[in-house]
Amino acid sequence: MDLILTPEEEAFRLEVREFLAAEVPEEVKRKTMTGFRLSKEEHVSWQKKLYEKGWVAPGWPVEHGGTGWTPMQKHLFEEECAAAGAPPVIAFGVTMVAPVIMAFGNDAQKGYYLPRILRSDDWWCQGYSEPGSGSDLASLRTKAVLNGDHYVVNGQKTWTSLAQHANLMFCLTRTEDTGKRQEGITFLLIDMEQPGVTVQPITTIDGSQEINNVFLEDVKVPVENRIGEEGKGWTYAKYLLGHERTGIAAVGRSKAQLKRLKTIASAEQHEGQALIEDANFREKIAEIEIDLLALESLVLRVLSDESSGKGPGPEASFLKIRGTEVQQGITELLVEAVGNYAHPYVPDAMKTGWNEDPIGPEHAASIAPHYFNWRKASIYGGSNEIQKNIIAKAVLGF
């Protein structure tokens, strides 16, 4: 069921498609489609291309460098990017810290950071979770003590995605131990390239190194790197969570992956016919396709509410839940689709420059790691159980 588009929307879609077809490098496309990790340089160089085109931050207000697109245009852009194998823009700068800086930063901070974010001059990471503070984030203990014109920060952050690439971290720190614990949290921007910051990779079950421990020992943070007021960091962090939440549904990505699933299921043989002809498997695909159509329908409804001035609201938590269920469901069916050749694990085969023959069909190489890696989706960004708590409280009034 395709979207019914106006001629203007069709023309826009075509413009995006043509740009992507010309600009996404083949190697980047291959890696993105198959779930292989891109290098920092590949990400940054792609984001700079989008910046030059003026398309790197569709969600931003026009005065800061946004596109002024309609909700449908934003949706089409995301879908086309995913279909073309363009890497998603790394969220930490453009969609996470930037809206907080716009809303709560001072003029100097806006003037300095926002253009740098647009140009991908900095790589941001998110310093939220700690070993003792996961779902119960407000219990965080990384301590920031004011000492003249700077804070001294001590503590440990964990699950910090792509911190190995980052030169800046937006970080929740504790500046007050007494009173309500949400009220003693301060939002700091920390330079990662200084003494006292140690990044230690954590290897995940798929064998990749994407997340890290970040140790902060007597790290100096100038007061001008504080966002807003001391002790108000929790409010800013919550604002961030309520912002641009429709992206977390990853509709475009899932559509692209579903297409890949169908291609692979057409190539794989099962009892003398293409696997996709097997009624049972075909119905499994149909079920997830319907889940995805419903997800897309709700995303577009939320987006159209947003454009009429209604905020995304806690209902967006539904998008996170269903969005990640669909993503995970597709990775699961991909494993089923490749059958025996889910077994071999050859990390080198996923790297640029590997030129030996593939083991089994070429499409099988990354499937199992991808499946295991993607279990993260229902855990990160507030686990799906936490999302249900949010809805229970904010929507149902429990």
Binding site: M1, A279, R282, A286, A294, L300, R301, N389, A392, F398
Partner: protein, 377 residues
Amino acid sequence: MSFAFNDDQKMLAESADRFMLDDYAFETRRKIMSMDEGFSREVWSQFAELGWLALPIPEEHGGLGGSTVDTAVLMECFGRGLVVEPYMGTVVLGAGVVAAAGSDAQKGEILAGVAEGRTLLGFAHIEPKARFTLSHVETTATKDGAGYVLNGDKAIVHNADAADYLIVSARTAGATTDTDGVTLFLVDRKAEGVELRSYPTIDGLRASEVKLGGVKLGADAVIGDVDGAMPVIEAVVDRANVLLCAEAAGAMDAAVKLTVEYLKTRVQFGRPIGDFQVLQHRSVEMLGAKEYSRALTYRAAGVMDVANARDRARAVSAAKVEMGRAGKKIGQDGVQLHGGMGMTEDMAVGHYFKRLTMIDMLFGNTDHHLRRFARLA
């Protein structure tokens, strides 16, 4: 493609919801169900006055020419109120067939009457052995001079005994499940040879088994093309399915709200049971199921009036699958979370459960539509 409701649709929803609250409360509905015909002619007249019967009927025949989305908005409110009046059979299916394929004379005779509330219709298509195969038509229409003679059996014809006319499908050529060879007829319900065996349904409606024993019809009884009725039936049933999904969205909305209210008031272990996270999460899942089903339903409704047959079929089947899964979850969990009270006739939640279950079982259930969707991939 717009995903926002326009002002007319918002006003329609407001007034229909107001009607359900003021004039169609649970106890009122109970009284209506126990009336002779199982619905209220008075309420039906009010529907006519409010313009609801005219809503989807083309303007040139005394209607308002509303879109499928417009009608879906109304049906969603009907779902919240568990309306038992024969809107589906008369306005959606019956008038839908006549508007799509009827002759000018048939349109003139039927459509204005439906819009004004004077004429009721029954859609006599499903057969005892058809299950969900829409083209399974054993009833025969045999040529008889210039006219036809009908013989056969029709099943679960909602509100047939109140109908002025039945829209009957019959085979004029081909084998039992052939797509070609089916013809539609407009049959006076009181015609000789039409026999009804009427009964209540589990979800509070009325229906009949219809026996057609040598019913003689003139050539002017044929609706649309001889042998070529299946595309009409498919289109009308597709639209009916989307509108059933809209009705279900309203029923799901009400069932979720009732359940959440119940959890907040029912005290056990010294506190409202809604304090327990396991029950909170189940209600969140119910709400989510409703939201997704509703969003997909309106998307399918938007596709209905513009898409080709294949895209239309895919959209409908996707919506019906989502609705079937959501309806089962919300119905079953709604009763479960009400505990023993949920099992009682006096609580509304069980009535929503029953309606949702029967909507799934009408014109193809979840499995049927999943297979249909998969085949059209």
